[in-house]
């Protein structure tokens, strides 16, 4: 039986970009580009008319911007949307908002150095479009946040240090999952938290800033040499691997540009392996929603040194890829729905 091809609608106000994206997608035999739209209104009409499986949606467009189109589609004609977004500080903020509005994922637009990074963008775009086509859209409903979330009180003093660590990884669906888990951690958590979210550079900084506003613990993008402290959260910067190492009495962040592993940088396996090495039985590793199998090798290392492992359950995962791969290793101690992950972490810390 011939597998039905995934029908894709390409939306972008730039004629060049429409042609580029169409061309990139068309080279994959499983994808069929069924049309393109030049602005938001056109996009809405074409979705009703062509009923695509996936829409690639430019974030910034005239007449009606990508967020409005996305909100409309997820409300009235649900379809998986992969946002195409230029990296600017404002663009990053809007892109994170798009994930709240129900976008399946996003890809950073090929930009100035177009010929250099086109191949990598192609691979990422095709993988994300295919993943998006398989997502249960009910898990991506519009999630409203207050424009200026009221920041929870941060703990006034540094919590005691129990010598442990929490290491978390996530990918597709991760930003929303992280917001829920990290905001659920208490202000007096007696250990640091290290997080790998597969995301383009620049966007990780915006994500860290946004999470910082929503959590009782301080959240920051990790920098080379940062000394870990209890009650704080470090997010790996996009395009760097993050590992932790003991230096004297301290544990510090090391960032490096080794080649991507499993197609990703940062790679959670590397973080988890270093955490197993540095913290042994005092480590808790958490594998959240995401495509692929990053984290699986890492949880084996954690388990081998006596640490504990939590994986997100299938019912609450936007994409049950990474948690499934982790579970399949036999090294998972607890499978938890998203809403119970924070409590499970606290129980062990």
């Amino acid at each position: 039986m011939v597998k039905e091809r995934i029908r894709v609608l390409v939306v972008d106000d730039s004629a060049l970009m429409r042609r580029v994206v169409w061309g990139l997608l068309e080279q994959d035999p499983e994808l069929l580009v069924v049309g393109s739209a030049v602005d938001g209104i056109d996009a809405v009409a074409k979705v009703h008319q062509l009923k695509p499986d996936v829409v690639t949606l430019d974030v910034e467009m005239p007449r009606m911007d990508g967020l409005q189109v996305l909100g409309y589609l997820m409300s009235e004609a649900p379809v998986a949307c992969v946002m195409l977004s230029a990296y600017t500080p404002r663009g990053a903020e809007t892109t994170l908002k798009a994930l709240d509005y129900g976008a399946a994922d996003f890809v950073q637009k090929p930009s100035g150095t177009i010929s250099l990074n086109l191949e990598r963008v192609q691979e990422e775009l095709i993988a994300k479009v295919k993943t998006a086509a398989g997502i249960d859209l009910k898990r991506l409903s519009f999630h409203s946040r207050p424009e200026e979330p009221k920041a929870p009180e941060k703990a006034a003093e540094e919590p005691r240090d129990n010598g442990g660590i929490v290491a978390i990884c996530s990918s597709t669906g991760g930003p929303r999952a992280l917001a829920e888990v990290l905001a659920g951690l208490p202000g007096n958590l007696a250990c640091p938290v290290a997080v790998v979210q597969h995301m383009s550079p620049g966007f990780t900084r915006s994500l860290a800033e946004r999470l910082d506003k929503e959590c009782r613990l301080r959240v920051q993008e990790a920098a080379q040499g940062d000394r870990l402290m209890p009650g704080r959260i470090w997010l790996a910067p996009g395009d760097f691997h993050m590992t932790l190492e003991r230096r004297g009495g301290d544990v510090v962040v090391a960032l490096d540009r080794r080649p991507p592993q499993l197609g990703v940088r940062p790679c959670a396996d590397l973080l988890f392996q270093s955490v197993a090495e540095a913290f042994g039985a005092k480590a808790v590793a958490v594998v959240l929603t995401g495509m692929g199998r990053d984290g699986a090798k890492g949880v084996k290392a954690i388990k081998a040194r006596g640490g504990r492992v939590i994986s997100q359950d299938e019912a609450t995962s936007v994409v049950y890829g990474m948690p499934r791969a982790a579970f399949a290793t036999g090294c998972v101690d607890k499978v938890a729905p998203l809403g119970a992950v924070a409590a499970s972490i606290v129980e062990w810390m």
């Binding site: 009409a45 009703h48 009606m64 409309y72």
Partner: protein, 121 residues
């Protein structure tokens, strides 16, 4: 005419969008409802100057809600909010007693125009 409005839509995004457009332009959204049954209860409670009513909703549809609200208050001012491609339903809603309609996705100017006319009529 009082500028109080009840927004009825099953989609949170649509309610938020309307609240934003109306709130910025001198109207007060006094209540929200997610289906036709809730709309009826809230209408009776709040007696708003105008209702924006989604057409396709779970449980009690927008058209049925218009019938029931008009039965309760023949002077009710209701404008329908319809997604693209639901024209036949709009006609039915107007017959049921709605005064006007706007098409989603919302454009602020059209929404404000319809609401202003709805309140004058």
């Amino acid at each position: 005419m009082k500028k109080t409005i009840l927004v009825v839509d099953d989609a949170a995004f649509m309610r938020a969008t309307l609240k934003d457009i109306l709130g910025r332009n001198g109207y007060e959204v006094v209540g929200e409802a997610r289906n036709g049954a809730e709309a009826l209860t809230r209408y009776a409670e709040l007696k708003p100057g105008l209702v924006t009513m989604d057409i396709v909703m779970p449980e009690v549809s927008g058209i049925e809600a218009v019938r029931r609200i008009v039965e309760l208050d023949p002077q009710a001012r209701i404008i329908m909010c319809s997604a693209m491609g639901q024209q036949s339903l709009v006609v039915e809603a107007i017959q049921a007693g709605a005064r006007d309609f706007v098409i989603k996705p919302f454009q602020a100017a059209r929404v404000l125009d319809a609401v202003a006319r709805g309140l004058e009529a």
